[in-house]
């Protein structure tokens, strides 16, 4: 069981808010504040200094993207604050905006549907809080469907690996998922970074850049 996190939760639907508190508590985290609009979210973060913020995109008063904008503002004020955004839709623009904050680590963008897969959701929560980057597989799948030129160069196996990288998985986890050796995963990632024209630098950061390169394409 990963370390218990202090979490501030923002979700306007009472039904989902209660459900989310239930899931997070079930995995040993402490929801220090559960609010229903963007303004209270900013206030709650200020007073509780949480380890992680989980927020919905669409929230009152405008019911458009208040939650996302609040998340971006929080990240701008404190780039080290881990933020996991839950969205009703697969939206490349949302994910790109989010990854643009700070250095793109400690952020997550997931479809709301994923909450139901409680174990994977709990894993994503842990990964974002630990400074990882999680992008919903649906977003990545959609990008891969576009078959743009840089993507055309990727082999099917490399695409699979990229999808898992975007989900924030480590080389070890990817190797287990694909039933290959960790060295093979490393080689695939090296190829992906090469094809995407991302020169060698600090490794984890380049993984984020690889995902980001697609989001911006």
């Amino acid at each position: 069981m990963p370390a218990a996190l202090k979490i501030v939760l923002a979700e306007d639907s009472v039904l989902l808010r209660e459900g989310l508190v239930g899931v997070l508590t079930r995995f040993g985290h402490e929801v220090v504040a559960a609010v229903g609009d963007a303004e209270s979210l900013v206030a709650a973060v200020r007073s509780y200094a949480p380890d992680l913020v989980v927020t919905d995109v669409r929230m009152p008063p405008g019911l458009t993207d208040e939650g996302l904008r609040a998340a971006l503002a929080l990240r701008a004020a404190n780039p080290a604050l881990p933020v996991l955004v839950l969205s009703q839709y697969v939206q490349r623009a949302y994910a790109a905006d989010l990854l643009d904050t700070g250095d793109g680590t400690g952020v997550g963008y997931l479809l709301k549907d994923r909450i139901g897969q409680v174990e994977q959701f709990a894993e994503a929560v842990g990964r974002v809080a630990a400074g990882g980057t999680v992008v919903d597989p649906e977003v990545v799948r959609q990008l891969l469907r576009r078959r743009r030129d840089p993507l055309a160069a990727l082999t099917p196996r490399e695409r699979e690996v990229l999808e898992l990288v975007a989900e924030g998985k480590s080389n070890g986890a990817i190797a287990r998922d694909l039933v290959v050796t960790e060295a093979a995963v490393g080689k695939h990632i090296g190829n992906i970074l090469g094809k995407l024209d991302l020169p060698p630098a600090e490794d984890t950061h380049r993984r984020v850049l690889a995902v980001l390169a697609y989001l911006r394409a």
Partner: protein, 412 residues
């Protein structure tokens, strides 16, 4: 010309003759209404009668517009506006303020007191007199036994068959000579009616404006309804399904193995429904359009396209109606490309220059798209027309197809 005259004579006669019958009846009705109205005005009962007389032009106008069809010209449209509120009072108020009501009243008075007597004179001179002249020998034959002479059309006295035959010949010539003036008169008569009974230019323009406005209102109402449905699904069904999926997910964690399998199956089903619902909601109205505007919404549409799309879009934000009309047009175009074109690639370009939004969707497919056949394209053209925009489809057989839309609009 002779043929047209021959063809038009029966119509002209029918028009004038029915006019005489109607006009004579109208004269009686108006005189009775007017006399009664004036006589009873001191006891107030007369006032409604006078009001009826004033408004009598309206049914007469409607009837006369129809009767104009007898002259082989299309009847003019009704110049009256539709009352905004129900009820007789609102109707009467509107009618009394309309200029066409008074023009129709003027026509009715003219009809009852001047036009139909004139019609009688013309018919008499052009048809009855020549006919009587032609029949001179018959008249002489029937009267000669008593007086030995006959008075033709109460004008000329004749007393021999030679004179009678001469009279017949003159009658035939006169009849033929007067057919053309008769037709001319009927046409002039119809032109006068049209002048007074058709909507004036200002009225026609007002009606056009009304139509445009009501169409814009319809589109706006449709758009609002779309958003309401999207919001209802999002706030209701979708949230409940996510919640259900969460409950199932938690239940699986704690369930014994044999139950966990069945829960997992239920969970998969719930997630499939969630996915379908998500796509459905997105199709109704994509949130990214409201949040990020056209470029991102078009990128999103390109992401979902079955055919790879290259995007070259540089656009500011516009009014909601403009953005959504352009977005749905592009999405329809992409759907058509995916379904019918056989294209391998598509290109979307979007620019804003000289106060006009221009978006073009091209493909390298086989062409032959016909906007007249596709109801989708027609609907889009209608939607753009409300915004004064245009939709052009260029799609020769063999391809390629280019669909372009243009909307004049200020940026937001």
């Amino acid at each position: 010309m002779i043929r047209t005259v021959v063809r038009d004579v029966p119509r002209a006669v029918a028009y004038l003759l029915s006019g005489v019958l109607l006009g004579a009846t109208l004269l009686v009705v108006l005189l009775v209404l007017g006399a009664l109205g004036l006589a009873l005005a001191p006891v107030l009962v007369g006032l409604p009668l006078l009001a009826v007389a004033v408004l009598s032009g309206i049914p007469v106008g409607a009837l006369e517009r129809r009767r104009l069809a007898l002259t082989r010209t299309p009847p003019p449209p009704d110049p009256h506006a539709t009352p905004a509120e129900p009820g007789l009072a609102a109707w009467a108020r509107l009618r009394l303020t309309e200029r066409s009501t008074w023009r129709e009243l003027a026509y009715t008075a003219l009809f009852a007191f001047v036009l139909w007597p004139l019609d009688v004179v013309v018919l008499f001179v052009a048809l009855v007199v020549p006919a009587a002249m032609v029949a001179a020998p018959v008249q002489l034959a029937t009267t000669s036994s008593t007086s030995g002479d006959a008075r033709i059309a109460k004008l000329w006295l004749i007393d021999s068959y030679g004179q009678a035959l001469l009279c017949t010949a003159a009658g035939v010539v006169l009849l033929l000579a007067l057919l053309w003036p008769l037709v001319r008169y009927a046409r002039l008569r119809a032109a006068l009616a049209r002048l007074l009974l058709a909507p004036s230019e200002a009225e026609a323009e007002r009606r056009l404006g009304e139509v445009t406005r009501s169409r814009a209102r319809l589109v706006a109402a449709f758009e609002a309804e779309r958003r309401r449905i999207e919001r209802d699904l999002h706030d209701g069904a979708q949230q409940r399904l996510v919640s259900l999926s969460m409950t199932l997910g938690l239940a699986r964690l704690d369930a014994p193995p044999e139950l966990a399998d069945r829960l997992a199956a239920a969970h998969r089903e719930a997630d499939r429904v969630l996915g379908e619902l998500r796509e459905l909601i997105h199709g109704i109205h994509p949130q990214v359009l409201a949040d990020y505007g056209l470029p991102d919404a078009l990128a999103d549409a390109a992401d979902r396209s079955a055919v790879p799309v290259e995007l070259d879009v540089d656009l500011p934000r516009f009014a909601e109606s403009v953005e959504s009309a352009a977005y749905f047009a592009v999405r329809e175009a992409l759907a058509n490309i995916g379904r019918h074109s056989g294209a391998e690639r598509a290109w979307i370009t979007g620019r804003y220059t000289d106060g006009r939004l221009r978006v073009e969707v091209r493909d390298d497919g086989t062409g032959g798209a016909d906007p007249a056949r596709g109801t989708g394209l027609t609907g889009l053209a209608d939607r753009l027309a409300v915004l004064d925009g245009t939709l052009t489809v260029h799609s020769p057989a063999g391809g390629p197809t280019a669909l372009s839309l243009e909307i004049p609009c200020p940026q937001r």
